[in-house]
C-alpha cells in the first residue's frame, strides 16, 4: 500500500536508526569524544532539514532549490537575537518560527505560480536573495559571519549548549520531525499532496485548492528547516551566510535523492551517509572527490529508489526468506 510503507518508509528501519543515534554519546566515551557527537549532531540537523525538504520533493513533487535559505534564516535569527542579548531559548525559537513561516508564506505564494523546473529556479532565486542579504549585514560580521560567545538557555538550563544537553534536544527534534512526517504521509493532507503531484487537475476538480495545500506544505517545510537552523547555530556556535548558499541547498537535495525520495527514512539515511562518507573519504585522501563523484553516479545508476529503497528491498527479501524457512 502506498501510504503505509512506500510513503512512510518502514518504521523498523527508522526506529533502528534513531536508537543507533541515541547510542552515539555512549560510543563517544570509547572513541571519538565530543568530535563524534558534534559530527553526528551536525548530521542530524541536516537530516531534519532534509526530511522537511522531502515533504516538498517526495510528497508534493516540488523541488525547492532554496531550502538552505530557511536553515540560514533560522541560524541568523538565532545569532542576531543572541548577539542583541536575548538568551531565552523558547523566545528565540518563537522568533525563528515566525520569521521562517513569514518568509515561506511570501516566497511560497509567488513561487507556486510556477511549476517543474521553473519552480526549482525561482526558489533558487529567493534563496540567493537571502544569501546576499546576510552577507550585507556588516554589523553582524558580513560574509565572515559571527561567533556566538554565548548560547541561549532552555528554561534556565544548559539544554541548548553544545557541551550540555544539545545532543538530546537535536535527537528529540529529529525523532519528532520523523514521526510527524510519517503521520503527515498517511494523513488526508499527505494523500491530497501526493495525489496533486500525480494529477493536479483531477484533485482540483474534486474541490481541493491545490495551491493552498502546496503553500501549507511549503510553510511547514520552511519552518522545520528554520528550526534546523536554530539548532545549527547552537551546535556550531557560529553563524555565517554559507549556511544559506545554493551549494548547501544542492547538498540537501542530494541527501534526499541519495537516501530515497518520499520515504521518511530516506532523507535521514541520506544525510547520515552523505556526511559520513564525505568525512571518512576526506580523511583518507586529499582528492577525495575523485572517489565521491563516481560513487554518486553509481548510486544513481544501480540503486534505484536511493539507499532507503535498497535497504527496504533487502529487509523485505530477508524477511521473506526467514518466513519461507519457518
Amino acid at each position: 500500500m502506498e501510504g503505509g510503507k512506500g510513503a512512510g518508509g518502514s518504521a523498523a528501519l527508522g526506529f533502528g536508526l534513531l536508537v543507533a543515534l541515541a547510542l552515539v554519546p555512549l560510543l563517544s566515551q570509547v572513541w571519538g569524544g565530543t568530535y563524534l557527537t558534534s559530527l553526528v549532531m551536525q548530521a542530524m540537523i541536516l537530516a531534519i532539514a532534509a526530511i522537511a525538504l522531502d515533504i516538498l520533493i517526495g510528497h508534493a513533487g516540488l523541488v525547492s532549490f532554496g531550502h538552505a535559505a530557511f536553515v540560514g534564516l533560522g541560524a541568523y535569527v538565532t545569532g542576531i537575537a543572541i548577539t542583541e542579548g536575548l538568551t531565552d531559548g523558547m523566545a528565540i525559537l518563537a522568533l525563528v518560527v515566525l520569521a521562517s513561516a513569514a518568509f515561506a508564506a511570501v516566497t511560497g505564494a509567488i513561487s507556486l505560480r510556477t511549476s517543474g523546473v521553473y519552480f526549482i529556479m525561482i526558489t533558487l532565486a529567493f534563496g540567493q536573495m537571502l544569501f546576499f542579504a546576510f552577507g550585507a549585514l556588516a554589523q553582524y560580521g558580513g560574509d565572515d559571519g559571527m561567533t556566538l560567545w554565548e548560547t541561549s538557555t532552555l528554561f534556565g538550563t544548559d539544554a541548548l549548549q553544545a557541551g550540555g544537553g544539545l545532543f538530546w534536544v537535536v535527537l528529540a527534534t529529529l525523532a519528532l520531525v520523523w514521526g510527524f512526517v510519517g503521520r503527515l504521509a498517511v494523513s488526508r493532507f499527505g494523500r491530497v499532496l501526493r495525489a496533486a503531484k500525480e494529477a493536479p487537475v483531477r484533485v482540483a476538480c474534486m474541490g481541493f485548492s491545490v495551491f493552498r495545500f502546496r503553500l501549507v506544505a511549503y510553510v511547514v517545510a520552511g519552518v522545520i528547516a528554520g528550526v534546523a537552523g536554530f539548532l545549527l547555530a547552537h551546535q556550531a556556535e557560529f553563524v555565517s551566510p554559507a549556511a544559506a548558499a545554493w551549494q548547501r541547498s544542492g547538498d540537501l537535495i542530494i541527501m534526499v535523492v541519495l537516501g530515497g525520495m518520499g520515504t521518511r527514512n530516506g532523507p535521514l539515511l541520506g544525510a547520515l551517509v552523505f556526511l559520513g562518507v564525505e568525512v571518512t573519504l576526506s580523511h583518507l585522501l586529499e582528492a577525495w572527490r575523485l572517489v565521491f563523484g563516481p560513487l554518486l553516479i553509481l548510486v544513481v545508476l544501480f540503486a534505484r529508489g536511493g539507499l532507503a529503497g535498497g535497504l527496504d528491498w533487502a529487509v523485505d527479501r530477508w524477511r521473506t526468506r526467514v518466513q519461507a524457512r519457518a
Binding site: G32, G33, T34, Y35, L36, S38, L39, Q42, G135, A136, A138, G141, G142, D143, D144, G145, M146, T147, L148, W149, A236, E237, F238, S240, A242, A243, V279, S282, H283, L284, L285, E286
Partner: protein, 390 residues
C-alpha cells in the same frame, strides 16, 4: 598523504638534547587547518609547504620533541572547518592548532579551539574581530592584523603626494576593511569607492569607471583569481601607464605565475618579500624553491615563522606543555629569528613589525616575485590592541 605528514626523527634527536625517554616517546602534535581546495588552494599550499620546510629544517622536531603535523583542508566552508578543528582537538588531541588562511574560517573554528585551551596560531588570517575586545590568551598571529597592509598603502599614497585615488574591493568583510584601512592614512581625494561581488569575473565595467574618473592611483584588494583577471584587464585597457597600481594581496607570489609581465611594476604591501635582505630569509627562499619548485610568498614565510615560534616556545618550557601560562609566556616572548627581521608580539598577540611597499619584478631566471621598494611603516602596531584587555 596529507593527513599524516609524519615528520619524525625522534630517536636521533632525543638523545643529544638530553630529554628523558618518557618525553621523547610523546611526540608533539600539530594540527593545521588550511584552505587546500577550490581556487584559493594555492594560498593554503604555500602555508603547508612553508610549515613543513621549517619542521624539516629543524630536524623533524620542534623544541626537541619529535613532531607530527596533521594537515586538514577546510574547503573554504565554515562547517567543514569547524568539524576538522574539532577532530584535531578531540580525536587527535593536538598540542597546537595552526590555521587559518581566511578570516571567515578563523571565525568558524575560533571558539571551540580556544575554549579547549589549545593554542591557536594563525599563519595568515588576522581579523580585527580578535585583535581588540575579543582578543584571547590562547590566540597568536604570525602574519599581521589584516588592516595593516592597507594602512601601509594609504600611508604611502599620502607620503608620495597622490591626490586622487580610486578604491576597488570585493564586497565582503575584508574588502570593506581594506577601504577603511586605506582611508585611515590617506587624506587626499577619493575618486570613488566601488565594490564588486566576490569571485568577480569581468572588470571591464569597473575599469571604464576608473578611466572616466582619471585618478592618480588605483587602490585595490583582489586576492586570488580576481587579482589575475583585474591585472590582465587593467593592463589591456591601457590604464597601467596612466596611474599607479596600489594593491594588497593582489599581486603576490600565488598570482604572479599567471599575471607575469602584466603585473610588472605594480605595487603591493607586506612585511616581507622573497628578496628580503637577511641570510636566513635568503636560505629559506633557496631551500623552498629547490624543494617545491615555486617562489614562496608571504603565506609560506608566515607559516615558517609559526613553526619557528612553536619551536622556541616548546624549547623554553623544556617540552612540558602542561603549564599553559608558561607556554603562553614563552610564545609571547617570540624568541626566534623571524625571516622578516625584527618581530615581537603586541599585548593582543598580534605582531609589531615593519611594513614595506613591494614592487613586482622579473628575476634573472624569468620567474616573477615582489621586491621591497621602501619601508613605509616602522614597528607598526595595529589600532585595535588598545581595546584588548588581557
Amino acid at each position: 598523504m596529507k593527513n599524516l605528514v609524519s615528520l619524525v626523527a625522534a630517536a636521533m634527536l632525543a638523545a643529544p638534547l638530553g630529554l628523558s625517554p618518557a618525553m621523547a616517546a610523546e611526540p608533539l602534535k600539530i594540527g593545521m587547518v588550511l584552505t587546500l581546495s577550490g581556487p584559493p588552494a594555492a594560498l593554503g599550499q604555500q602555508a603547508r609547504d612553508g610549515f613543513a620546510l621549517a619542521v624539516e629544517d629543524l630536524g623533524g622536531s620542534l623544541g626537541g620533541l619529535s613532531t607530527e603535523v596533521i594537515v586538514e583542508d577546510d574547503e573554504l566552508k565554515p562547517d567543514v572547518a569547524l568539524n576538522k578543528a574539532k577532530k584535531l582537538i578531540e580525536r587527535d588531541e593536538v598540542d597546537f592548532v595552526v590555521g587559518t588562511i581566511f578570516s571567515n574560517m578563523l571565525q568558524a573554528i575560533f571558539k571551540p579551539v580556544v575554549q579547549s585551551e589549545t593554542f591557536l596560531i594563525s599563519p595568515n588570517a588576522g581579523p580585527s574581530t580578535f585583535a581588540g575586545r575579543n582578543c584571547n590568551p590562547y590566540f597568536f598571529v604570525t602574519s599581521y592584523q589584516n588592516n595593516q597592509n592597507f594602512e601601509a598603502l594609504g600611508k604611502y599614497a599620502q607620503d608620495a603626494g597622490l591626490k586622487k585615488v580610486f578604491l576597488l574591493a570585493p564586497n565582503y568583510q575584508a574588502g570593506r576593511d581594506s577601504m577603511e584601512g586605506f582611508k585611515k592614512n590617506f587624506k587626499g581625494e577619493i575618486a570613488d569607492e566601488v565594490f564588486t561581488p566576490l569571485g568577480h569575473k569581468d572588470f571591464s565595467a569597473e575599469i571604464a569607471r576608473i578611466a572616466a574618473s582619471e585618478p592618480d592611483a588605483l587602490f585595490t584588494f583582489m586576492p586570488g583569481g580576481m587579482g589575475v583577471r583585474l591585472v590582465k584587464q587593467f593592463r589591456a585597457a591601457g590604464l597601467a601607464d596612466r596611474m599607479t597600481f596600489l594593491s594588497a594581496f593582489t599581486v603576490d607570489e600565488t598570482t604572479l605565475p599567471a599575471q607575469k609581465d602584466d603585473a610588472l611594476g605594480f605595487f603591493g604591501a607586506g612585511s616581507w618579500a622573497p628578496d628580503t635582505d637577511n641570510p636566513r630569509s635568503k636560505a629559506f627562499v633557496e631551500a623552498f624553491e629547490t624543494k617545491y619548485g615555486y617562489v614562496p610568498g608571504s603565506y609560506a614565510m608566515q607559516a615558517y615563522d609559526a613553526a619557528q615560534l612553536i619551536d622556541s616556545a616548546v624549547k623554553a618550557v623544556g617540552g612540558d606543555l602542561s603549564d599553559k601560562d608558561a607556554v603562553r609566556a614563552a610564545l609571547k616572548a617570540a624568541d626566534f629569528a623571524s625571516l622578516r627581521g625584527e618581530f615581537r608580539f603586541n599585548s593582543n598577540h598580534y605582531p609589531v613589525q615593519d611594513f614595506h611597499l613591494l614592487r613586482v619584478a622579473k628575476r634573472a631566471d624569468g620567474k616573477f616575485q615582489t621586491e621591497i621598494e621602501q619601508t613605509v611603516l616602522e614597528d607598526a602596531e595595529d589600532t585595535f590592541a588598545a581595546d584588548c584587555r588581557m
